[in-house]
C-alpha cells in the first residue's frame, strides 16, 4: 500500500512481481527449512523401508531363490498362496494368537493400572517389577519361558504337579504350542499396556469422579461410566499397536517353537522366514509378506474409521 501511494501508477507494474518474488523467495526459504527438518528421516525411510517394500513387490512377481536370476511368473505366487491350505493355517494361527493375547494383556494391564494408580506404598517399585519383562529381549524371554514350560522338568509343570495337576507338554505338544507362546507374550507385554493405561488414567480430570461420587455412583459404575470412556484413546492406541504387532509376531515363535511341532504354531511371519531361508523361495515369501501387509493395512484402516463410534477425545 505504501509503495502505491509513494509512486506514480506508471511505476506500479514492476512492484507486484517484486513482492511476489520476495514472497517466492520467502516461500522457497521456508520449504528449504522444511526439507532440512524432514529429510534426515524421510531419506532413510525411503531408502530402507519404502524402497525395499517396492522391490519386494517386484520380487513377489518372480520365482527367485536369492541366488539364481529371477524368473517372471506374474501373479502365480499369489494364486499359489491363496489356494495353499498352509497359508490359511498360518493366518489362522496368527489370528488365534491375537484373539487370546489381546484380551489377556488388555484386561490384565487395565487391572494393574487401576491398582497401581491408587495411593499404595511402594507403588513405583511394583510398577518397576511389572515393567521388567518389557525391557528384556525376546530372545532372553523366549529362552527362559521355553525352559519354564519344559514338559517334564519345567517349573510350571513341577508347580502344577504340587496341586495334582498333570501339566500339558506346552511347546512340545501341538495343542499347547500356541498357548505357550501366548503365555510368554502376555507376560512380557503386560507392563507396557499397564504404562500406557496408567498415563491415560493420570490425565483423567478428578472432577468427573467427584461428580460421579456425588451422584452416588459405586466403584463399578464409575469404572464403566467415567474411567473406560475417558480411557478410550489409550485403549484405541493399545489395540491398534497390539494388532499391528500381533500380525507380525515372530521372535518368540522362532526361539520357542520354530513354528512346530507339526506346524501347530506356524504364524505368517515364521512362514515368510521359512520360505526365504529354508526353502529358498524368496519370491513366494515376498508375495506372502505383501498379503500380510495388505491384511494389516485393512485392519488398521477399519479401526481408524471405527474409532469415531467409540473413542472419546476430549
Amino acid at each position: 500500500m505504501s509503495t502505491m501511494t509513494m509512486q506514480p501508477p506508471v511505476a506500479a507494474p514492476p512492484a507486484p512481481p517484486a513482492t511476489a518474488g520476495r514472497r517466492r523467495v520467502r516461500k522457497t526459504k521456508y520449504l528449504f527449512t522444511v526439507a532440512v527438518f524432514l529429510l534426515p528421516s524421510l531419506i532413510p525411510l525411503l531408502a530402507f523401508v519404502i524402497g525395499p517394500m517396492i522391490s519386494a513387490a517386484w520380487a513377489s512377481l518372480h520365482s527367485w531363490n536369492l541366488i539364481s536370476p529371477m524368473t517372471w511368473v506374474g501373479l502365480d505366487n499369489y494364486a499359489h498362496l491363496l489356494t495353499d491350505p498352509a497359508t490359511g493355517w498360518a493366518f489362522l494361527h496368527t489370528v488365534y494368537y491375537i484373539a487370546v493375547y489381546l484380551p489377556l494383556v488388555y484386561i490384565g494391564g487395565l487391572a494393574l493400572a487401576l491398582a497401581l494408580n491408587t495411593k499404595l506404598h511402594g507403588r513405583s517399585f511394583l510398577r518397576g517389577m511389572y515393567f521388567l519383562p518389557v525391557i528384556t529381549s525376546w530372545v532372553v524371554v523366549a529362552l527362559v519361558w521355553r525352559w519354564l514350560l519344559s514338559p517334564s522338568t519345567g517349573v510350571v509343570n513341577t508347580a502344577l504337579a504340587w496341586f495334582g495337576i498333570d501339566g500339558p507338554g506346552w511347546w512340545a505338544d501341538p495343542a499347547w504350542s500356541m498357548p505357550a507362546v501366548i503365555l510368554a507374550s502376555a507376560w512380557k507385554d503386560l507392563g507396557f499396556v499397564m504404562v500406557i493405561l496408567l498415563a491415560g488414567l493420570q490425565s483423567i480430570n478428578s472432577d468427573l469422579y467427584e461428580a460421579a461420587a456425588l451422584d452416588g455412583a459405586g466403584w463399578w459404575r464409575r469404572l464403566f461410566s467415567v474411567t473406560l470412556p475417558m480411557l478410550s484413546p489409550s485403549t484405541f492406541f493399545v489395540i491398534v499397536l497390539s494388532l499391528i504387532n500381533g500380525f507380525q509376531v515372530f521372535d518368540q515363535v522362532y526361539v520357542m517353537t520354530g513354528g512346530g511341532p507339526n506346524n501347530s504354531s506356524e504364524v505368517v511371519v515364521q512362514q515368510v522366514y521359512d520360505l526365504t531361508f529354508r526353502y529358498g523361495q524368496a519370491g513366494m515369501a515376498s508375495a506372502l509378506s505383501w498379503l500380510l501387509f495388505i491384511v494389516i493395512l485393512i485392519v488398521t484402516l477399519i479401526q481408524f474409521y471405527g474409532q469415531r463410534k467409540w473413542v472419546n477425545y476430549d
Binding site: Y30, L31, T33, V34, F37, L38, P40, S41, P44, A47, F48, V49, P52, M53, S55, L116, L120, L126, G128, F131, L132, I135, T136, S137, W138, V139, V140, L143, V144, W145, W147, L148, S150, T153, V155, W187, L190, V195, I196, L198, A199, G200, Q202, S203, I204, S234, I244, Q248, D251, V255, V272, Y273, T276, S286, W290, L292, F293, I296, L297, T300
Partner: protein, 276 residues
C-alpha cells in the same frame, strides 16, 4: 474403627497380597535366570534348585572364554547407541515439521510415515540384504545401523508431544525474531523432555534387543550383537543353560540401568503425548 474403614483395610490388604504375588510371578523368571547363571553345568533336563549346591560365577568366565563376549558387548553398544541417538534426532526434527510447519501435501507425507509402521520388517529383509550387499555394507556396523536411524513410531510419539505445547510460546519467540531452528532447539526440545526420554528408552530397547536384522547382516562371531550371540550359544545338542543365562543376565543389565534412570519420565512422557 468404622465399618467402611475396616472394609478398606481388608480390601487394601487383599490388593497388596494380589499385587505382590503378581509381581513375584513377573520377577520369578529373572530370579531363575540369575540362579541358573551361577549353577555350573545346568541343562534343560535338570530342574535347578532355587539355592544351587555349588554356586559359582564360572559360567560367566566360561562365557567370555567360549565366545568373544567383550567384543559382542562393544558391538551391541555401538550399534544400539548410534541407532538410538540418530533415531532421536531424526524423529524430533520430522515431528517438528508435522507439528508446526504446514506445507501442501504434509498430510500425505505423514500418512506415508504411518504406513511404514504397518510394514512387517520381515518383508524388507531380502531386498534390504540385497541393497546392503550392493553398497558393500554386509558385516559392518553401518549396515546394521542404517535401517534403524529413522522410525515412524518416534516421529508419531514426538509429534503428539509437540502438539500439546501452546502456540503462544512459539508465536512470542517469532515476534522476538527467532527462526524455526531456535524455536526447535530452545523451546520445543526442552519442553518435550519426558517424551524424548520415553523415546530414548523405547529406541534403545528396540535396537539393543533387535534380533532378526543383526542375525542376517552380521556374519562373523566378532561382529555379532548380544541376542544373536545368545542364540548361537543355543546349540542343537549341548545347550549350556548356565552360559545362556549368564549371557541373558548381562544383556538385561544396560536396559535395566537405563530404565531406572528414565522411569520417572516414562509415564509422564506417555501421558504428555495425548495418548491418554
Amino acid at each position: 474403627m468404622t465399618d467402611t474403614s475396616r472394609r478398606n483395610v481388608v480390601s487394601t490388604t487383599l490388593l497388596y497380597v494380589v499385587l505382590i504375588a503378581g509381581a513375584l510371578i513377573m520377577v520369578f523368571p529373572f530370579v531363575w535366570t540369575v540362579v541358573t547363571s551361577i549353577t555350573p553345568g545346568a541343562t534343560l533336563t535338570t530342574t535347578p534348585k532355587l539355592i544351587p549346591d555349588n554356586p559359582s560365577l564360572s559360567p560367566y568366565f566360561d562365557l567370555f572364554d567360549r565366545v568373544p563376549f567383550a567384543q559382542v558387548i562393544v558391538n551391541s553398544l555401538i550399534i544400539a547407541g548410534a541407532g538410538t541417538v540418530l533415531q532421536l534426532i531424526t524423529s524430533a526434527m520430522a515431528a517438528y515439521v508435522f507439528a508446526r510447519m504446514p506445507f501442501r501435501g504434509r498430510g500425505a507425507v505423514f500418512v506415508l510415515y504411518l504406513a511404514t509402521m504397518m510394514i512387517p520388517f520381515q518383508v524388507l529383509i531380502v531386498p534390504l540384504f540385497a541393497e546392503m550387499k550392493a553398497l558393500g555394507l554386509i558385516n559392518t556396523y553401518l549396515g546394521a545401523i542404517l535401517p534403524t536411524i529413522a522410525s515412524a513410531f518416534g516421529v508419531f510419539l514426538l509429534r503428539q508431544a509437540m502438539s500439546t505445547v501452546p502456540y503462544d510460546l512459539d508465536q512470542a519467540a517469532t515476534i522476538d525474531g527467532a527462526g524455526h531452528f531456535r524455536i526447535f532447539f530452545q523451546i520445543m526440545l526442552p519442553l518435550i523432555r519426558p517424551a524424548l526420554a520415553t523415546l530414548l528408552v523405547f529406541a534403545f530397547l528396540g535396537t539393543w534387543n533387535s534380533f532378526l536384522w543383526p542375525l542376517i547382516i552380521l556374519r562373523t562371531p566378532l561382529m555379532q550383537t548380544l541376542p544373536v550371540a545368545l542364540t548361537s550359544l543355543q546349540g542343537e545338542f549341548a545347550t549350556q543353560w548356565d552360559l545362556l543365562m549368564a549371557g541373558s543376565v548381562i544383556s538385561i543389565l544396560p536396559m535395566f540401568a537405563l530404565y531406572i534412570f528414565a522411569q520417572k519420565y516414562i509415564i509422564q512422557g506417555v501421558a504428555g503425548t495425548g495418548l491418554k
